[in-house]
Amino acid sequence: MICENCKQRPAKVTVTQVVNGEQVNRHYCEVCAQNLHPFHVEAAHQDPLAIHQLLQNWFNVPTQESTQRAQSDQPLKCDTCDWTFRQFLNKGKFGCADCYDSFRKQLPGVFKRLHNGNTKHVGKTPGGFERVIELKKQIESLRAQMQEAVAEENFEEAATLRDEARMLEEQLKNGADSA
């Protein structure tokens, strides 16, 4: 057997680790065993493992699978990165930001378990994003006013409101791209 780490020297040391209650044997050569234990930071290897194991245990229950299949034959998938919900559970990671949108209905269940029952962000908002929300609200209100003006056959005012809304839409477009 060769060393799992350097894959060069023969493995002479067996390191037994208990990861999430599961016993794992690792075989290293003397050089790597010395290197890896205990200063080598293994957090990065273990963290994702733990998360995806947890997610799999929580969500790979047969009942949920069958209800999902009953709803549609297509597996739930994100179009931007092509990852399915199943893949997300297996890896314990998202493929892209759009996954959040694609799996929006399923995610609160995931977050509840990972974040102490919480499912909604209440912290900081990027500055640009606040402007975006505000612009959206302004445009909405202008549109409503425009409808009213049209209903009252006040076309001149409606045209002004339309132009204002267009200007804000333009800003939103530029702002959203550069914010």
Partner: protein, 366 residues
């Protein structure tokens, strides 16, 4: 500025022992995870996307660095040797994950190494700020400044419901991980750590040994950090961690008092023996060195050992790691040769220190 500057010295800004409770809290770290809209996450993106993200992020920070009052050096992983990457990991400047170099990424380091921004680790951007002692608010403020610089220049992936969108669902929301590195020898010696770790976990925090997870904390150094990032504001996360940290400090101080009053001669003997080992040993493993450094540090904190500067111990803790030892030796060493070299390095470092502080002054301050 070249990467050499960051590799040659084992001293980073965060090792400077100052700030409140710096005898127990060695350092404070804030990490913010951020991603750019319009690019897939590093786990699924193409090499082309990786390079674009790297360029965008690097340019955004380098252009506005003057706002933070420092300059940033960009160190691309592709152009860095495996050993040099390992050294950056040992200095806590990059993560082992980035060091693997599987994805084209880089790290942007501030001059004093207090700020490091990892590009294309698990997320596009990982802002990390390291401060000495317990300084959660200060460290967060700095990370927030960097965050606002990026936010002006680049479109973040953000969602009204879920907050900052991150690659791992455990970071979603604030993307904030706040952690404190604590030296807890008295709680460990009095067998209280197991109970404390369980209590901390119950309130949504995590404790781990700083060098590796699951394993026994080497050198009695533990890292306490928040686990929840969703449904709590940044301020709440920081306040909760601050309060837990203060309670642990209190417990550690109580345990130190108990040790000091119950078994003084035995304690002094143990701690001085460790100083003896560090000063005279010819062969020393990382485990033994870490244990002895912890003992000497405790000895200084308790006023039992005098004439050794704590910052030297912090430095030894870093440079005794395998990567540094290799780098200093200038060639690859067998494990046994490494232990010999490590003993020599620590010996020399302590001797230099002794020569400069034997003027009767007591540099410790409890």
């Amino acid at each position: 500025m070249t990467i050499e500057k960051f590799l040659e010295s084992s001293v980073s800004g965060w090792m400077d022992p100052r700030g409140e409770d710096s005898d127990i809290v060695m350092s404070t770290r804030i990490r913010l995870a951020r991603n750019l809209r319009g690019y897939r996450f590093p786990l699924s993106f193409t090499e082309n996307e990786a390079h674009q993200v790297d360029q965008l992020v690097t340019a955004a920070l380098v252009d506005s660095a003057e706002k933070v009052g420092t300059t940033f050096s960009s160190i691309p992983m592709e152009k860095t040797t495996t050993l040099d990457r390992q050294i950056l990991v040992e200095k806590h400047l990059i993560s082992p994950n980035l060091a693997k170099g599987q994805i084209p990424g880089s790290v942007l380091l501030s001059e004093d190494e207090g700020i490091s921004v990892m590009v294309n680790e698990e997320d596009h951007i990982r802002i990390q700020c390291l401060f000495p002692g317990l300084q959660l608010e200060e460290a967060y403020e700095q990370a927030d400044t960097i965050d606002r610089i990026f936010e002006k220049e680049l479109p973040y992936a953000f969602d009204e419901e879920f907050g900052y969108l991150t690659s791992c669902p455990t970071n979603t929301g604030t993307g904030l991980r706040a952690s404190v590195m604590m030296h807890l020898p008295a709680l460990t010696m009095t067998n209280q750590m197991g109970r404390i770790i369980q209590a901390i976990m119950r309130v949504g925090m995590v404790v781990r040994g700083i060098y590796g997870e699951g394993s026994e904390a080497l050198g009695n150094v533990y890292q306490v950090s928040n686990q929840t990032t969703l449904g709590k504001t940044e301020e709440e996360i920081l306040e909760d961690l601050q309060s837990i940290t203060e309670q642990i400090i209190q417990k550690e101080r109580e345990a130190r008092e108990t040790l000091l009053h119950s078994e003084q001669p035995v304690l002094a003997d143990t701690l001085y023996r460790s100083l003896g080992v560090l000063t005279y040993a010819r062969i020393i493993s990382t485990d033994e060195a870490a244990k002895c450094l912890s003992d000497v540090r405790l000895g200084i904190d308790l006023g039992i050992i005098t004439g050794v500067d704590v910052s030297i111990l912090n430095e030894c803790m870093i440079f005794m790691q395998p990567g540094f030892i290799q780098k200093y030796a200038g060639n690859s060493l067998q494990p046994n040769e490494r232990d010999v070299f490590r003993a020599k390095m620590i010996r020399e470092r302590l001797t230099i220190e002794n020569k400069t502080t034997t003027k009767g002054e007591k540099p410790h301050d409890v």
